[in-house]
Point group: C2
Chain length 196, copies 2
């Protein structure tokens, strides 16, 4: 029985993974708004009930698709918080944030052209309030100097939306990373890293 | 007859203006998505047909509400294009762009929390392709150096979304303007203006 349950759990995990991959492919093709749970079920060759077993709404699916990137950001924030010195924390966070944006640029592009996703992610983001304020606080400093807070916000939104902008889809990852890091450094008042 | 027509035209213009004001008030209260043409008609004390005479869809209304800001931007771009020297053009455009963002910050805040508006404005924005590319080209330079183009995009998105961010609603206009200009200057590699 134990073996059977483990097998079931693993096959369910596979279905969930396949489901998310299929959803992402359909989102890219039809937009998030233009994709229904039924279309996802059809593409997977399962019933709508089988999709429903894993995700009750499309918002849950977009949340799950975004989850890996948000988890990576959690890790980078955690790593940065353990470093000594504000400059070291900012540099680690900036490098990590830019890497995540570039790694998930196709997803950002997909989501930012689809208004419904903004709503879904805003909902899931607001449940992570500590998370987004940790990001801002680490970039801006806890003392909250007005320029720094505004520059940190501009850096986060500017880097994310530029990294995901369709007009830069043909810029290679390394070039995009280099320039987005430079955007962050200029806004946050950090010098270039050694050896670059 | 001519006098009568002029009076009619002027009264229709008034209705249109009142309609847009009412729509904006309802948008702020209920969100764009939560506001119907019927609600706008009720609040104005007119029939839905009277609203329909001026605007066929809610997208047309959001477009009309955004129009003054876009027109101001047209003027600033036109003014900048007549200046001699790239630096003078960038400085004029940056100052003008930041002024427009700060002047319309409540509208940007309202629109950016409402996903449906993104779609409506993207549609109207894409019909102004020359307009948005004029903005980018003037900030980045026609030669298209990769860093400059990316920094210009980050400046435009970062300034607009930070100017309209709800968490800065209590920052006064002059402070916000000063810091957003500094964001733009750092990204576009411009020195501080004299006397600031």
């Amino acid at each position: 029985m134990a073996a059977r349950s483990a097998a079931d759990a693993s096959s369910q995990e596979d279905t969930r993974t396949r489901l998310l991959k299929t959803a992402l492919r359909l989102f890219a093709e039809h937009g998030v708004e233009g994709t229904s749970l039924q279309m996802i079920a059809d593409a997977l060759g399962v019933t709508k009930a089988a999709v429903y077993y894993h995700f009750k709404t499309k918002d849950e699916i977009t949340g799950a698709v975004a989850e890996p990137g948000l988890r990576e950001l959690d890790v980078v924030i955690e790593e940065a918080s353990r470093l000594r010195g504000r400059s070291a924390r900012i540099d680690h966070l900036l490098t990590g944030f830019v890497d995540i944006v570039v790694r998930h640029r196709a997803l950002i592009a997909l989501f930012s052209r689809d208004p419904g996703v903004t709503r879904a992610l805003t909902t899931s983001w607001s449940t992570r309030e500590n998370f987004s304020s940790a990001l801002m606080e680490m970039f801006a400093g806890a003392e909250g100097d007005a320029y720094r807070v505004i520059a940190a916000h501009a850096a986060i939104t500017g880097i994310a939306l530029t990294g995901g902008a369709p007009q830069f889809a043909d810029v290679d990852d390394e070039t995009l990373r280099t320039h987005l890091r430079e955007v962050g450094r200029r806004l946050l008042g950090r010098p270039r890293a050694h050896g670059r």
